[in-house]
Symmetry: C2
Subunit: 370 residues, 2 copies
């Protein structure tokens, strides 16, 4: 069912096609985050209009509420959330570390209490595959141990090795042809640990490979350096997914280094806070200058928000706490991200990625602003 | 520009057409409430899909934020909020009484402090017409004094008489052909005061007549009795607007008695709280029974929400505090209201209003439930 085809390369940048049971995803792609089976403030119909082809949900959150059994009974995640495009579920490894109090990791798995009601759970590589089987996403992720930043070499090594052993158990527990299983590469900011992890996981063989545990607080230069070192070691014929990283500049730098897939909460979270990305940098909707600025967020943007509403109106919505403001800016941000991905893909196909890259940086005058 | 045409009557129930500078409104009609220049959680595009033809905003709220001058500079309310259908602005009389602290009423007008930042304002009949001129809605309302419930006869009389004098001043201040000015009938629950007010206002002559100060806490039977007494005294050839009243049963009972227009926060507020009106009564989305109920809110409803999402999914969205839940249920509620109005209109045109009325009550088994 799942198939990845590399269409062409321009430098290290790649254009591909990822076939899933719920449609083809053109890569490089950005995956809007729908942690709790909904992309915050956005309907599935709007996601389609925005151009999304795949949406991410989170196993940890869904297992807690409403529970994997409810989603299974609904006919799976697509049916449950009314989204007929492709889906991916993260394993919840990252959420375990960041959200669950009294989280205890052992060889067997992770014991934790729900951040929501304190109920006790025990996740193992095997039952996380099973949970994701019930949830029914097209792409699933194995349980991993994700280190925070900074992280000592010893701890990063131990976590990477556990992640590898868990990946092996996950692969053994995974019997579905309908769901593609990715391997998650850990190892902190230590290149030699990442290399070892890549060797391990590629010898096991997965449908795709993800870089986990990055964009967790380290300097951008270190993230990009790590991408340089890791991405080129991954098999050409499998999709490469950089998890949780995603300012527009990150996407540009990631694609440049050969990444195919990204997810990030930034466009939706910033949207709800009233910060918009535009072709000429960030716009803070609440800023006083917008009070009577009757121009769109982005003159050159074709999205519903920019075609119908002014900055003055959006600022009004935010200043009187109207929800429509959050959804309109979120809509724009996701549209901006999708357009950026589509623009990069087109440039790669035409062999003009470097031009696209340069032009983007010029338009976004300040690097801090992208 | 403004014109009302009575198409036909079935008993007291009326079907009409109200021409405005922004399209024709078929009556009886329900006016979704967009207090702050937005119908909460719903975009103008969605309003169109729902079938809305006219939207209400509030002069009090808009004068405070963003200020009438900003809306004027935007090109008026329609431009500002991206809604090309008809609009109506309430004067803010009701909001003054209920929201503004230290509100002081005199013959000249109302002095008050903003509920938001304490800033001082003074509303007069004249400057409220002027403010609404800047805002630019198709239908505007004069400043009135709205009594709370219960209200002594003396106080209701004094408020009604002031409302009449203010109505006269409003009419004198109103010079726009583009904006229709309604008269607001006050007088509490005292029929003789209402009758006197109607005599006064109809002799002044307005483009339409509104019943204000009802549905403010009194028993339904008293509201309906008052409608009986007032509506038949209003001129046949002008639209009749019952302000702020609007459970589905209220709409039914109002139309039966000859009302043409309604507005109410209920479908939107209930939508945000997770209560849906359906063809067989109310559904409380959060109820435990909905956890794994994979049916729509209303099997017979054709709205986007009911065609794509189950009660189980909506319950999940509410239980994890996702905004999409609020907008999907609001969407359904408004669609339900619009369908109810369209159904009533069709029945009136066919001379079958009483059958429609009876059928509605039978489907909604418990009267308390509508």
């Amino acid at each position: 069912m799942f198939n990845f085809k590399l269409i062409c390369k321009d430098g290290e940048a790649r254009a591909g096609e990822m076939a899933t049971a719920h449609g083809t995803v053109l890569t490089p792609t950005f995956i809007p985050v729908g942690t709790q089976a909904t992309v915050k403030t956005i309907s599935p119909m709007e996601l389609r209009k925005i151009g999304a082809q795949i949406v991410l949900s989170n196993t940890y959150h869904l297992a807690l509420r409403p529970g994997a059994a409810v989603i299974k009974a609904a006919g799976g995640l697509h049916q449950f959330m009314g989204w007929d495009g492709a889906t991916l579920t993260d394993s919840g490894g990252y959420q375990l570390m960041s959200l669950a109090p009294l989280c205890k990791i052992s060889e067997k798995g992770v014991g934790f209490q729900s951040h929501f009601d304190g109920r006790r759970y025990f996740f193992t590589p095997e039952n996380v595959i099973e949970l994701q089987g019930e949830i029914g996403a097209d792409l699933i992720m194995p349980l991993d141990e994700c280190c925070s930043y900074p992280c000592e070499h010893d701890q990063a090594k131990r976590a990477m090795e556990l992640t590898c052993r868990w990946a092996e158990r996950s692969k053994k527990a995974h019997h579905s042809n309908a769901q593609a299983l990715f391997g998650i590469i850990q190892g902190g900011l230590y290149p030699e640990l990442r290399v070892e992890c890549i060797k391990n996981l590629t010898s096991l063989g997965f449908d795709g490979y993800a870089l986990g545990g990055i964009s967790v607080g380290e300097a951008k230069i270190l993230t990009y350096e790590l991408l340089n070192e890791c991405l080129s070691l991954l098999p050409e014929d499998k999709p490469r997914y950089v998890m949780g990283m995603g300012t527009p500049l990150d996407l540009l730098e990631g694609v440049k280094r050969g990444a195919d897939m990204f997810d990030c909460i930034l466009p939706t979270r910033y949207g709800r806070n009233g910060t918009a990305w535009t072709s000429s940098g960030k716009v803070i909707v609440r800023n006083a200058e917008n009070v009577s600025l009757f121009i769109p967020l982005d003159e050159s943007c074709e999205c519903y928000t920019c075609r119908h509403f002014t900055r003055a109106y959006l600022r009004h919505l935010f200043s009187v706490n109207e929800i429509l403001g959050m959804s309109l800016v979120t809509y724009h941000n996701l549209f901006f991200y999708m357009s950026l991905m589509a623009g990069m893909r087109e440039a790669i196909v035409k062999g003009k990625f470097q031009e696209f890259y340069n032009e983007f940086l010029i338009k976004n005058k300040e690097v801090e602003n992208v």
